[in-house]
């Protein structure tokens, strides 16, 4: 499944410049909805694909058509990789320091 998701993410990444050249927030929302579906799966089962997601998130975040609400969703998605690391670290006996934002 990882290979299939990777192919899909690579396709989205390759198409992003064309998609976003005349982007409206509705198109960004469509991509965002797909990310919301796929990110939890990637965090759990295919963390090596996280850089693809990060690149897509960065491209969407930098687009002027992205609304504030969409930006907040992107930031929440972005944070999931950090949260996944902290959960794994805590399970190994290295809990996040108190007051840590991660």
């Amino acid at each position: 499944m990882s290979a299939a998701i990777q192919a899909l993410l690579a396709l989205i990444e390759a198409l992003l410049p064309k998609l976003l050249s005349g982007a409206d927030s509705a198109l960004i929302q469509t991509i965002l909805n797909a990310l919301v579906q796929v990110v939890p799966v990637i965090i759990q089962e295919a963390t090596d694909l996280i850089p693809y997601i990060k690149n897509i998130i960065a491209s969407l975040s930098a687009n002027s058509a992205t609304t504030t609400e969409q930006l907040a969703t992107l930031q929440a998605l972005d944070k999931q990789a950090d949260d996944a690391f902290e959960a794994a670290a805590a399970a190994q006996g290295f809990p996040a320091p108190s007051g840590s934002a991660a």
Binding site: T47, D48, P51, K54, A81, F85, A89, A91, A96, A102
Partner: protein, 135 residues
């Protein structure tokens, strides 16, 4: 060199009331050589993100107990990884915040150095302990 920089920095601080903050910041950067572009930071941040993901995979392995085989997370390695990732994340987040607040400026090299150090530590650990195989 440090003495020269310290003296120059002290001079800049003394001159602060004569100019704006931006001028002082630019002068400080010129004295310390503290300038990195957003492109340089983006490359390091991408490397960090990939390494953080690899580290996450490694930490998801069962903790090594001495009897549970070679595919496990060694507490000694974990003890190196965790602080490196946390330090790198802080530097990455601060650099990203800097470039969002100052889109047309060069970033502080101190934060970049911290991020680069984290990436170097993680790359070294990845190579030494074959962490890429942890999936």
């Amino acid at each position: 060199m440090h003495t020269i920089r310290a003296a120059a920095a002290a001079g800049l601080i003394a001159l602060a009331p004569m100019g704006g903050c931006a001028q002082l910041e630019n002068s400080w950067n010129a004295v310390t050589g503290a300038q990195v572009t957003i492109q340089t930071v983006s490359v390091a941040a991408s490397s960090f993100d990939a390494l953080e993901a690899t580290a996450t995979n490694y930490l998801r392995l069962p903790k090594c107990t001495g009897g549970n085989g070679p595919v496990c997370a060694d507490p000694a390695v974990t003890a190196k990884l965790v602080p490196a990732v946390r330090a790198g994340r802080i530097a990455r987040d601060n650099l990203e915040a800097f470039f969002q607040a100052h889109p047309d400026q060069l970033g502080p090299s101190g934060l970049y150095d911290a991020l680069a150090a984290s990436v170097a530590t993680l790359q070294s650990a990845e190579a030494q302990f074959n962490m890429g195989a942890a999936k």
